[in-house]
Symmetry: C2
């Protein structure tokens, strides 16, 4: 099977697995326990926190380990909203966010917050001018992802962040798709908080982290915890964190090589599939994550194309993995101006470290054949 | 180092680590993805769910995997409260609960629920007659742990459950300390939901499960999720779950042998330390978890005793691990009628599979010496 669904989940790096096993064996005590085994686990955890802080160029006490990307989005957004509700109850959110963000926002709505959706222009991006028009006197928080999980569009975080800072509004940015794929230096200085995920960069599932900018008022929904400065409840999963940070360090060290490899693989795939006029490549003119190749086979639902590609031993996604089984038009494509039928045609191909030329050639060939046969079918239907 | 803090966290079983590594390598796709790698991960997850359902003798669709015990308590309690708030807003809770339960209950209080604390008698247990007196017409939920995390007292779940069922009140029971240590058949028929943890039985941290009795009205706080029937957000951590269930199956299979071993080790330790009249064994006359040996060294704070034992290479706990660093009187000892000073003397010794006679002898010797020297110190102080 050729795996082209790296944006959903990536295989664990062998080094990350080794770190997990090593840590699970020798550092199993509760990292908050005051005896020596607890202190050892606690030291190991602090070491991991320092290393992740280095990768992000932030203070280590601004890092909070979580139970993954969705957990991180929930914890960070509710803590920012809860910590600032005395200042106002209005929240702005882009329409491109991951379901974990949208569901958190709906929860906040049911708890008395007001939410408005930000406009997105045809380049797939939130523009600072438009954002400025949506701001009210009681706006406390804007939620704008770094990179989109359906088509990979990268948002102009510095412009957005500068405007929001000027107006004293917090900014949470879901960086689960971009962390380990882009330098976070284009995000960190402009945000109040970010969420990162482990399993999308070759770390274990079930862990991740939130960064909260020092001085930001954040009050967790559930009070009284002792782990992670009260941000996240429950015994800290030190082995998973050690493994995650190992993967993060490797991804960081290999970023240039990985980017080059992604560019090569993507160009290779594009050069093949662009031969067909039935295939539309949905890369906007704005910057896009290098491992994303979002396409449409004209007239073919994404879910159908995904199943057909699966039969040909290629694993791709019809969009954001968390929504599979619920076929809805891609919100990212709708925001680019595609109609509902076109937005249902999205096929998300995402490449990874292990992707090679032979796999790309096989995928390209399958797509060309599908596009040609489907075009033929449509001609026949219309005849 | 001799480890006597199994109730805080246990070392991972080698079989559980193997299961983790195997699954992380070959079943890394998102278990909700519709392509073959996703379906394989999904099948693996379903297999694990079926196996855990077998252990609990429940339907597999009543099992929801979580991010651990604390996460499970939060998710289950808020879902039961949220799902039944139209019927009433009164909740009863025992004073012996884990911080994750108490913190969840405080969160519910801030969301408009009323909470009353149940009385506990000198045997460390909630009695059905007392519970009955606390019930109001608008009581929807009682929260009573199966076994206490400080001194191991086991609650009379069948009597409590029968009363609550009669009065149409839901019962959530935190079974994180008892799961894998006692048969759950004495709990499951009497409850609406239970929480179990993985890392206390030799599985990985960061995972666990909630059982919700079929037909129970439960509405998660955060709506719209697709994983775990909408109960828990985020990509499911299939490797950790496979590893957890492996540990659960082994614990279940070895339960009789383990119980025998615990009884032997406990009796051995008791036979040594009961020689000193400065050591009080805090095992009530009610049933207690077999691996718990809660003691007090008269006149010595538990935290101090813990640190002194640590110097002598024994890792014990001053109480519930999640509260270390915050020295408070043990709520379990207070409920048994001890005064505040006595309740600060708790030393929680918890044994495990790997505990052996030699370790027990060393621990017993250290405790006797400490008790003798401390007694001597006190005599000198009073002279």
């Amino acid at each position: 099977m050729n795996y082209f669904d790296y944006a959903a989940s990536a295989p664990m790096r062998p080094e990350a697995t080794e770190a997990y096993v090593y840590c699970a064996k020798d550092f199993y005590a509760n990292s908050e326990s005051l005896h020596d085994p607890g202190a050892l686990a606690g030291d190991f955890l602090q070491h991991a926190r320092n290393k992740l802080a280095d990768v992000l160029s932030v203070r280590s006490d601004s890092i909070y380990f979580t139970g993954g990307g969705s957990d991180g989005n929930f914890l960070a957004i509710t803590a920012l909203a809860n910590g600032n509700k005395e200042r106002g109850r209005h929240i702005l959110v882009s329409p491109l966010e991951h379901p974990s963000v949208m569901n958190t926002v709906h929860f906040l709505q049911s708890s008395g917050f007001e939410v408005d959706t930000l406009p997105v222009r045809a380049d797939g991006r939130v523009h600072a001018e438009d954002l400025n028009k949506c701001v009210r006197h009681d706006t406390i928080l804007a939620i704008i992802q770094h990179a989109n999980s359906e088509i990979g569009t990268i948002q102009p975080m510095s412009k957005i962040g500068a405007l929001l800072r000027e107006r004293d509004i917090l900014l949470h940015s879901d960086c689960c798709q971009s962390f380990g794929k882009l330098s976070m230096s284009s995000v960190i200085p402009y945000v109040s908080s970010i969420t990162v995920s482990s399993h999308k960069i070759g770390g274990p599932k079930g862990t991740g982290a939130v960064y909260i900018s020092p001085g930001t008022r954040a009050i967790p929904l559930m009070q009284g915890g002792v782990h992670e400065q009260g941000f996240k409840h429950g015994t800290v999963d030190v082995p998973a964190i050690a493994s995650f940070v190992t993967a993060a360090l490797l991804a960081h060290a290999e970023l240039d090589d990985w980017t080059l490899h992604m560019n090569n693989m993507r160009h290779k795939l594009l050069s093949i599939i662009m031969r067909s006029e039935n295939i539309v490549v949905e890369r906007s003119h704005s910057p896009v994550l290098p491992h994303f190749v979002p396409i449409r086979l004209k007239g073919m639902e994404g879910q159908y194309a995904m199943l057909e590609l699966n039969r040909q031993r290629h694993a791709v996604s019809p969009g954001s993995a968390c929504k599979s089984g619920q076929q809805e038009p891609s919100r990212a494509l709708l925001s680019l101006g595609r109609n509902e039928n076109e937005a249902r045609e999205l096929v998300r191909i995402t490449l990874g470290k292990e992707t090679n030329e032979s796999e790309i050639e096989q995928l390209g060939k399958s797509l060309l054949t599908m596009a040609a046969n489907h075009g033929l079918t449509k001609v026949r239907e219309h005849a």
